[in-house]
Each structure stands twice: as structure tokens, then as C-alpha cells.
Subunit: 362 residues, 4 copies
């Protein structure tokens, strides 16, 4: 239950970093949709590790194998299950983690929750590797949305204190949303990207890591998606986005910056754009009262720095009940935020698709 | 469905700003718990409007009437329903809002969603007034948690750019959590509170409003609450907290600030405190991998400035399909954040209680 | 959570037999629907007690008071809450039931579940009286379905071993479904009804009670409602129908009789009726693989005899832990099945409406 | 969503009769449980096809391959996914079913629901073959229950009009529940079993099929499982049991027979059995008010005769829109009820385990 998101279109994630396979079941997508598997591979490639020196050296093809739900490339209406085999695992790297929990990882809480029976190898079910099957589902969702004129995109809003050009929230276009997708470093400003890249490599050289913020948007959304109170688009998006490992905060539109403003500045005045109601600013981020208003959706997701760092750290021995030192080996990203960009797109797309289905817009 | 939160202990909210009554059904709380109704009234009083010049002048007793689920002051195990009659309504104040949607309110999206049949009076089901029944449920949850040694508290972290003393996340105590509860202005630093108060009155004098941030914490939590991926404590808390009107962002522990840090600074080193595993810092905010780790829970919720301001604003006529001007009359808070402090406590307490029940800790 | 049904359109029931009020919250019905309150009253009157000598002498108006969700008689899209005050209660009648649980009632299991804190008066939340608010919701659902050409009706299929004329499943019409609705005794064959009535009075004279079976049908349903496996129409209807007190069995179409037949007799052959696909027989009861096939829906619900009988019965003292005798006083129906007919209609209508919404048919 | 059951312990089923694999994800089982894989295989073998002449000749090993959630044979607390590869498929057998829907199958409703994109091969996701992964989950549930002293068993209550010895509901023992488990024909009375077997072969010889009823019971259950109204044990069990293909009815305890009885006969009198409260009869089937009362659970499930028969049948051409004849080839059970016995056990065990978890009894 815990590893499932969605109401009408659900995604269930299974597997662990070093289990035989990881995978997902996507239920509720319309029958008769032809999946573009090349496009899906290209999307998943954006999340895949090992693309450049700024990422983990673990290199896997991450090619999903579809077990059911798709016939001749077309969805049948039945649940779609796809798996990725875990071929390139070095379980030996994680030998001492059962005793010595990694700071700011789930090793300790999983130990408590599961009475020490949790699969510690690579973080088990808590591993960032689980975002791979999430991207299978999200990649399909992106295609379904695109077929209805909806574009979802994201970029590195900020890494290691270095800002990218932010989205112009009221004037966001599909072109801007796609601008970063083909770049190895998903930014709008290549200059900012270079600085971020340097900062990541500098942290790596220091056996350290950096955090960052992903900004995500969507255009072409119908008005009226979402519901009041606890079932609004923010509620649903936030609940899903916090499912991505390392996320510490989620905000919409003006977000935390709203706290600094006065109502007269923050309010989004309505105007008629021909026969369409629009707002001049978009501090609402496209959502009012939990319901989409037809303006671009804009949200931001804060990621902490990768907790797996090569520096020696203080921890405790769960066996001896005493303080201990830990040196983490294995391969780790000095900045997960880069690879998290398509994951944020995936989760956002899945939430939007789910809300679309509820209102029979797909 | 949209107006319900919780998995094992659910709260369902009903009513609108000007309907005959508003209320809530709370289902799943243990049988045999004696509710302290005086304490509940005192808690609800903290949210009630009309306490000082910095809030709306609408003044209502907001006394809940319990219809069922409680016998001789003790919970029976059956669903608890309580209602608050809406006695002090001036529906005439809202006459023109069906035509002229208020900027950054849900008037327009509700119009679209419900085909113009939505109850526009006072914002209907989207009104902040719905936080009153939420506080009935939350007030009971707070008492249930307190009986198990868990304290939930909150304060005004920041209003109109003015910061209060932040929580010391690693050393947060129940005393600190309760420090702001009896104050008309819920802050740790009274000096900061005075400045905030002045800023709110200044905005009011300008026919304007201000936003702010509420910081909320909990101590005494058991380890092991919550689940991986999409059912972690952050997911559940965020999903619920975005149900409070005007919320634009939610963060845990280091939150958005995490994006600026390196892993070596951000990671929370473990140490043994006697036989208890603790962390020296608490950037995790008490949650790792979605699961509580025994450290204090800390979260922050950003509120936008009240959208209902007395200044003339640009809007559109939904009848004529043309640009229009709007002057909002009626009684409105220049800063909803002050009264939102107990609401954040209420929602947090309900989420924690729900997770406690799941693990049979209540 | 336990007292709620539905996925997209949900009904939440609250209250107990002798609490201040009972009620329901209905969420998810379309905005803009004008409720016919006279028709709703007439529907609720069919369930109301005290109509003739064959029912309980407790007589209440059961007039629902709508608190919210309806404005000028029209649904607003927000949750609809209505309550019925419990005015005619004689709590003294139930004085000894806390010690002496009534056989085949929930007194004992509620005692265990809620540690003795359950509201024993009139059975508390387990009372058949809770079907009154269920009929408020169901009565609205029936009107919504009727507006889309769907008729739901039911009759006493069998009482005390006496059969009514069964529905002709393949040829069921809206007229037949409505034929029993205006009768004080809801049967197709008035002769059978008289015999049932006599049997009920005979049982009453013996301080005893009788059981029976309700048959319910629906015409005008679109094809395609429901889903495979655990979310089919049978699953959803059965889950809801077992929520009516005293139900012991639910079957669809041929039901338990299917076990006696061979496939060649049981299978429903398809044929073209003009351009419409129909089946010559309807042993499927209008559902195949969990999904409606356009034929009339037919189901049957078995009710046990009222457990509250005036005869002395064996029970135990929960206080003394020894065998005891019980004589139940108070007012009780010798046959709840008669009044259960509209309740079965209500629950069926709510399930159908819920499935309609899922497929955007309302 | 449609192919998932359970609240706290969920089972999600995926795959189709002829897809690459079928499988299940089981989430929520306790960590640290050692699965007995031999026992699991033996359980699944009871459901497996091809055991004797009275069943389909399709013969598959049905050996589940565990992808995750189990480490060294012990559950880790993470979701457990297992798959069964579909190796022995003859898809050509189903060539004409897209045009000619089989009577009393889901071919037609799936065609409507999924716009003709459904996987028709072997019934796709509607195939009885999906009960194989259900038995993986159920087999694990049975082991978990057994470790807590709870036994679940079932037998052929009635096949082709031939009755087996019924359970003595008030005196049901674990031994009786297990008595039929090792028999190729799961009955209590071997004489009845032989007659059933002959009747099945006779139907097969006539190119026909027969239906039947499975009776299932459980002993050792704690009191207090389940909840009032819509979340009682009957609601949950019925909702799940109707997920087994070909089920037409579900009843508990006295079931439909209750309709024939008077209250004085039907009521289950309480008595003290030492310090334990028990009932002398068990028409309640172990459940009162939705909540277990400590007596044996007893339920019955009616199955229709296998709709796939070799006799020529009337159908329609969905391509030509005209009446047509159909001769079904392929391998089909003349009586699915025999193999359904362990499936009913599996589903019942999963529901009980789910309710146990809710009350922290596992």
C-alpha cells in the first residue's frame, strides 16, 4: 500500500536496489493507447546513472521488460506490469550497513520498522533506484498527456546555491518546458549549468555532495482538475512528490516566497484573453482552491544533498549499542538532483493524468 | 471524498461559510477516551476569529455540538460527529462574487468545477471557516496524543518578513512547543510578535494583507511511524497540510534550505544517548525514509497573504465575459497565519494519531 | 471509515439509535441537480417504522434536515450533510443489555471491540435505525439515476417461506420495478403479500420473528459499468449490501441456483436486438466479468429473522461471567425485511451512481 | 486499482491468460516471517490444472518466481512480488473470440469497456488463470495465520446437485477444515466425491459443464475482527470473494436459509464455556454486526457452471452485427469449482490476515 500512488490511475512500485528485479504496475490507463517505446527509452535514459562524471559510475541499461497489459505495443486496459532486472549489483559493498546505519539514510528507521529484517543491500526498497520503475509509469503518462496537448517539463532551478533562469510563471510555454530535456545537464541557462557542474565535481573531489531544487511546470491543462480541501492538486502532487527519495520540501507558484508578500502584490488579477479567463501574474502556480485554473502549473521540489558521501562519518553500532565511525564505499551520485529532474516530471505527469481521468478528460 | 483526510483515523469535513451548519465526522478514535471539553474549547478559541484588532471582526462562539460518538463525555468507538451552527452570517456581503471572482480565491475554479452551482457565499466549502471543524477533530487528537506523552505545538515562524526565534530542531522540547500556545500572538519572541502585529496592522491600514510561515513540531513520538515511498510521514502530512486554505509550501527539517548545503554538513550523525539512538543535528526533521526516527518532528508551512483585501482589484465578469473591477467588502483577516497556527497543530496531530493507530501505538 | 461506502460518490453514516441525531454525508454528487424533496420524503416514508401492525410501533417523522451542500434545493457540488434528530427514544428500555447481550445482535461483539464503551442504547451505531440516513443518500441517488433513464426497484422475493412472483430476469421492465413501490406491502403478487403479512402477524403473536429475501433490479443501465476482479459491480454491490443489518447472503442473477445447472442451460446466449447486443436469458443478472452488459441488473439479498424477539432467551452475564436469561422489551419489527426493501434500493442505487460517475455517465 | 484487494495488507494481481507472465504484489505482511516454500508449492498444486481427467488438460508447473520482498526465504517488510511465466499457451485457440464473444464470459463486456483493445487470448485479465497468483498471496497468508493458531479450510459443499457433508457450524474444528486438503477431490464424504466426479465426467462427455458451491471455514480467530456497517468482515470477504471468476453468490452462516427461519430458531444463544463466551448454534457464521465473535467463521460461495463448453452456442458477430454460432475449442474445466476450493481458502485467508493486521493481531 505504501508504495502506491494515485486514485484512478495507480502506480505500484516494487523491488529493492539489489533484489532480482524492480518493477511497477500501472493500472487504469486507457485501453488502445500506442506506447512509443523509443521515446520511453529516451525518457528513462535521462534518469539513468552513469552518463557523465558528475553522476554515479553504476551503469545499467534499465531496459524495462513488459510482462502484461500491452499487446502489440498498445495498452489493453488491464494492469501494465514492467520489470527491470538488477544485473549490475555489487552487494558486497554494503556489508557493514546492517550494523552501522548511514546518517540521513533510512537504514536506521527501516531497521526499527522491520525489526532488522529489512533488505539493507543498497538501501533495499528505500533506494533511489526505485525511481527507475517510477519513470516507466511516468514516461507512459507523459506520452498520454502529450497526446492531449499537455506538456510537462522540469529543470534544475538551483544546485549548490547556483540559480538557473527561473520559469516565467505567467508566460510559461511548452517550448520552455522542453528546452532542458535534451541536455545532459537539464538547465535553461547553460552558463548556470556549467557552474552547477563544476560545483558538483568540486563536492565530489571533497568526498562530499550537494543538494538542489527542481522546478517543474505543465502547460495545456484543462481548468477544473482537482478537488477542494484534502484532495486538491497540491495535496495530491505533494503526497506523490515526497515519495521521491531525498525530497525535503514542495511548494507551488510563489511558494515560501508568498510569506514575504502583501496580498495586493501576490494576488493574481484576472483578465479576459479573448474569451479565455487568465491571470496576469501566476503566483497561484495554476491552482486555486486545489483546482486548476487554466494557467501553467508551476511547482518546486527541494532535494537534500546525497547522504551517501565518502567522508568518514559518525554513526552508531546497532549491534554493540555504541558510537562508531562509518566510511561508505560503493558508487554514489554527488548530486541526485540532476537525475531527479525526469523523476519529478514523471511523478507530476502521473498525478495530472490521474486527475484527468477523474474528470474524464482522458 | 475530497474533504476527508486520514487512513485509519479519518476526518470528514462538511459545510460552507454560510450554510446552516459546518461540522466534521471523526472516525476511528479509540473507544473509552474521556474528552476534556474545556480544553477543547480553549484550543478552538485559539483559532476563533475576532480576538483582536489584527483579525476579522466576525465573532462567533464556534461552540461544537456533538451529535453522536460520545456518551457521558467518553468516546464510544462509533463515528463522532459534531456541528457548529452558522449564526452570524451576512450573506449580503457576497452578492457580486458570483459574477466577479476574487483574485487568488477559489471563486473562479469552483465556478468552473461546479458549473456555477457552487455556493459562493463566503467562499462556500472553500472557506477558511472550515478549519473550525478541523480543529474540533484536531483538538481531540491533541488530547489523545498528550495522553501518550506526545506534544504537538506550533508558532509563527515568520510573518511579513519578520522572523520569530526558530525551533532548535535537535533540542526541541515539549515546553518550547507549548510556549506560544497561551499567547494571543503565538510566537516565541514577544518582541518579534510585536513587530509582526504592527506589520499586520500597517497592512490592514493600507487595505492590504500579509503572509507568513508556521513552524510546527512534535516531541515524544515513537520511532517507526510511517511507511516507505508514497505513504511516509512527509507524504501524509503534506497531503493534509495543503488542505488548509492559503498554504503554498510545506517543508520538513532543513526543508528548502537543504538545497544550499553539502552532505557533510546536512547529514545528521548518529550517537548513543544512553541506550537510545539519536542524531546530533536534526536536518531530517525527525523523519528518515518516510519513517519517524525518534527525534523531534519539525515542519514548516508557508501561507500566502489573505487574498481578500479591501483594495480595488482587477477581475473579470463571468456574466459579461469582460474585464471588471472588484471591491471586496465583508470582514477579512489581514493575516490568516495567526489563526492558522492551531490549525497546523490540529492537522499535524491528526496525521500523527492516524499513523499511531496504524502501528497500534494508541 | 467503517461507516462509509463508495469510491467516487461516497456516503458516510453517523449516529446511533439513541444519540442526539443520526445523519449522513454524501460527497461527489454532481452540482446543479434539483432535489425533489417531496419525492425524497415519500421514499423515506417507505422505510419509516410504524406504518402498520406488522412493524415496530416506534413512530418517528424521520424528516431529514439538510445542513449543507444544497442551496435553494439544488446541489452545490460540496458535501451534502443531512441529519435526523432522535426525538422518540425510550432509553430505559435497554437498561440491562450492557450486562446481557442479545443473541444474534452485535451487543457482544461491540462490547469486545470497544472495551465496553460502546453505546448500547438501541444497539448504538449497529442499529437498523442507521438505514434512515442511508435512505436519504439513496433517495437522492435514485432521483439522479431516474433523470438518466435508470430505474431501480425491489420487492419481497420471499418472506417466511412464502414466495412472491419472481422477476423475469431477461424481460424485466421499469414498470415491474416500480409496481411494488406504492404498496404498503411491497410485493408483485398481492395474494402472496397477504400470506406474508399473516405469517408475520402469526410470528408476532408468538413473540417471534421471520426472515426473508429481497429481490432488487435495475433497468436502463449503460454497458461497461464496473471493473475486473475485485472492483466489479458484484464486489461493490455485495460489499455495500452487507452493510445493511441482518443481511446473511447476496447473490446475482441465477445466484446459488447456478450451482445446480449445467453450462448449456446456464449460459446466456447473445443475439442482436436490432443493433443492440442482448442475451436471451439473463442468468448473469446483467453483469459479466464484473461489468454491466446492458441487460437488467438482478440481485437478491437474504435477511435473517429479527433477532430482537419477545420470547425469553439464553444469554450470559458479561458482568458475572455466567449463564443468564434475557427478556427483551422495547419495540421491534417482527420482520425487518418489509422495511428493508427501500434500503436495498437505496444501497443499490448508490453503488450504481458511484460506478456511473467513475465512467462519467453522470 | 480494480485488481487489488485488501486495506492494510493488499494484494495486487496482474497479467492475463496468455501474457508473458502473470503475478502478484503482496504488501503489508510482517517482516521476519520465514515462508515455507514447499508448503506453498503444495498449496498451489491444489489449484493447478491438469491433475485428473475431470479438469482441463492444460498443464503448467505454475512455479512462482519471487522478484523481491523475500531475502533468504524471510520477508523483508517490503512489497513481495512474484511472477509465473506463461509457457504453455496456445493462443491460436482463441482466434475467433474477438469477433464472437463467448456466452456468459467477459468477452463482450471487456470489448465494450476497453473499446475492443482488450486482450482476448484466453480471456485476458478476466481469465481464471489469474487465481494462480492469488494463491501465491493466499498461500503465504495461510502460513501466517497458521503460525497464530488460525486454520482456514474449505470443501466442495455441493456439485451438480450432489451435497457433501456440511460443516457442523457450531462445532467446526481445524481437523475438519483440513480433512479435504490432501484429497484430489476436496470433499468430506468420499462417497459424495465419487458421485460429483462422475457427474462432472458425464457433463464433460456431453460437451457440457456443471456448477457448485464451496463451503469455507476458519477456526482460532480472535474476537473483535472487523468493523460496523460497510467495513464488517462479511462486506470485506464478500467484496473479495466476488473477485474469483464465476462466483454468483456469497452467504455467511445460515445464509439464504435464514430467510426460512423464525428468530427463536435462528438466534444463537450465548453460554459460558468456562470463561469463554460461546454460542450454542452458529447461524451467525462467527460474525455479528460485522465483527468476529470467536465462533468458527463459516461462509459459502456459489459458482456457476464453466461457461466455456464444447457445445455449439448462439452468439453474435461483433464485426457484422448479426447473430452467429460459436464452437469453443481449447482446453477447459468442466467444473471450475474443484480447483476453486483452494482459491476460496486463499481469498478468505487474505481477508482475515488483513483484518488481523488492522487490529494488530499479527
Amino acid at each position: 500500500m505504501s508504495s502506491r500512488m494515485g486514485k484512478n490511475i495507480t502506480v505500484s512500485i516494487f523491488g529493492g536496489s539489489h533484489t532480482e528485479a524492480i518493477g511497477m504496475t500501472l493500472d487504469g490507463v486507457p485501453a488502445g493507447f500506442k506506447i512509443d517505446f523509443d521515446k520511453l527509452s529516451a525518457f528513462m535514459e535521462r534518469r539513468a546513472p552513469g552518463r557523465d562524471a558528475a553522476a554515479t559510475s553504476r551503469r545499467e541499461p534499465d531496459a524495462p521488460k513488459f510482462l502484461c497489459g500491452v499487446l502489440d505495443g498498445v495498452t489493453t486496459g488491464a494492469p501494465i506490469t514492467a520489470v527491470i532486472e538488477n544485473t549490475n549489483v555489487r552487494s558486497g559493498d554494503y556489508g557493514n550497513l546492517r550494523e552501522l546505519p548511514r546518517p540521513s539514510h533510512a537504514d536506521y528507521t527501516a531497521f526499527v520498522k522491520y525489526g532488522g529484517h529489512n533488505d539493507i543491500r543498497g538501501g533495499g526498497h528505500f533506494s533511489g533506484r526505485l525511481t527507475a520503475p517510477l519513470c516507466i509509469a511516468g514516461g507512459i503518462a507523459l506520452q498520454l498527456l502529450e497526446a492531449r496537448g499537455i506538456t510537462v517539463g522540469a529543470h534544475l532551478f538551483r544546485v549548490a546555491g547556483i540559480p538557473d533562469t527561473p520559469y516565467d510563471m505567467a508566460a510559461l510555454t511548452a517550448d520552455t518546458l522542453c528546452a532542458a530535456k535534451d541536455k545532459p545537464f537539464p538547465v535553461l541557462s547553460d552558463e548556470a549549468g556549467e557552474q552547477m557542474h563544476d560545483a558538483i565535481l568540486a563536492a565530489k573531489a571533497d568526498c562530499d555532495s550537494v543538494g538542489g531544487i527542481v522546478e517543474c511546470g505543465a502547460t495545456g491543462l484543462p481548468t477544473g482538475l482537482g478537488n477542494p480541501m484534502f484532495d486538491g492538486m497540491e495535496n495530491r502532487l505533494a503526497a506523490a512528490l515526497f515519495g521521491i527519495p531525498a525530497v525535503k520540501g514542495v511548494e507551488f507558484g510563489s511558494g515560501f516566497g508568498a510569506a514575504e508578500l502583501r496580498g495586493s502584490t501576490h494576488n493574481d488579477p484576472f483578465y479576459m484573453d479573448g474569451t479565455v479567463v487568465r491571470t496576469r501574474t501566476n503566483n497561484s502556480g495554476g491552482i486555486q482552491g486545489g483546482i486548476t485554473n487554466g494557467m501553467p502549473l508551476v511547482l518546486r521540489v527541494a532535494f537534500k544533498p546525497t547522504p551517501s558521501i565518502a567522508k568518514e562519518q559518525d554513526t552508531v553500532s546497532l549491534v554493540k549499542g555504541e558510537n562508531a565511525k562509518l566510511v561508505i564505499t560503493g558508487r554514489h551520485d554527488p548530486c541526485v538532483v540532476v537525475r531527479a529532474v525526469p523523476v519529478v516530471e514523471a511523478v507530476t505527469a502521473l498525478c495530472l493524468l490521474d486527475a484527468m481521468k477523474e474528470d474524464n478528460k482522458i
